[in-house]
């Protein structure tokens, strides 16, 4: 699955390129996430602005990503589209993640200035 890593100081900013995280790609999402954060010690921000569809399998994969980081590393979400936000709220999984309106907001919350 196409996810790119952009290092922003201590933050690993992960951009999800496809517009869907659903049952057909949930395993690929988890595998790619695991590979990307393997050697990263700091917090991770998952940029979901491209994602317009998330089902319960996709949500399960995002929760699995959070568990993979363990207690020592934070996982923030940014740029939730209305459909993604609705799934997060209905399942109450919005309580699991710090959620930011944009990548800039997410970086600012960690005290990192966005790239010029």
């Amino acid at each position: 699955m196409d996810i790119t890593l952009e290092p922003m100081g201590p933050i690993a900013l992960l951009h999800v390129v496809p517009d869907r995280i659903d049952a057909s790609v949930a395993i690929q999402f988890k595998d790619r996430f695991r590979d990307l954060v393997r050697d990263w010690d700091g917090p991770v921000v998952l940029d979901l602005q491209n994602v317009t569809f998330l089902d319960s399998s996709g949500l399960g994969a995002v929760v699995a990503a959070r568990k993979l980081l363990g207690e020592g590393r934070q996982l923030d979400l940014s740029g939730l589209n209305p459909a993604v936000d609705k799934v997060m709220r209905l399942t109450r999984m919005n309580q699991v993640f710090p959620i930011h309106g944009s990548v800039e907001d997410a970086l600012a919350a960690h005290g990192v200035a966005p790239a010029a």
């Binding site: 659903d22 049952a23 319960s56 949500l59 959070r66 363990g70 799934v87």
Partner: protein
């Protein structure tokens, strides 16, 4: 492509005006990638018919949950097994029927909605699944299931108005 059998909307129709009475039936194999393609095609067609985006998202989400349950449970992830999906647009709601020929629901009834309280759970105890039936039950009306001579029949409505 999934939109092959679906009617092309005429240009310039008033939003929603041509959608009433629209119906389709689709048959496809129980594979996650095929479910995604079907949902994408259906969604594109219904957007072109002028139906409201937010309700179409609800429809897509509910169908994703229902169809993936069929793939994973009724057909136990075998990668095959026929699914029939019928969708029709009525005044104020979309009706959906899903038929499969796989295993029956446990106990012959619809599973309950599982509600999670993530704040009360340790990180490693957070659920990675079992969200589906709560979403289906919250977002549909008239949800019905029956087992009919080896066939699972599920039907429900998605409201088109708040």
């Amino acid at each position: 492509m999934s939109v092959r059998d679906l009617p092309s909307p005429r240009q310039g129709d008033p939003p929603g005006g041509t959608a009433l009475g629209w119906a389709c039936t689709r048959r496809f194999e129980a594979q996650p990638a095929l479910v995604s393609v079907e949902l994408l095609g259906l969604n594109q067609t219904l957007i072109q018919l002028g139906l409201p985006i937010e309700q179409l998202f609800t429809l897509e989400l509910v169908l994703a949950e229902v169809l993936n349950n069929v793939v994973e449970h009724a057909y136990q992830d075998r990668g095959e097994g026929r699914i029939e999906l019928s969708v029709s647009v009525h005044a104020g709601f979309i009706h959906c029927g899903v038929t499969d020929f796989g295993a029956p629901m446990p106990g012959g009834v619809l599973p309950p909605a599982r509600r999670h309280s993530p704040k009360a759970l340790a990180l490693q105890d957070l659920p990675e699944g079992s969200f589906g039936w709560a979403l289906i039950r919250d977002l549909t009306t008239g949800l019905k299931y029956c087992r009919d001579e080896g066939i699972n029949r599920l039907s429900f409505r998605i409201a088109l108005e708040d």
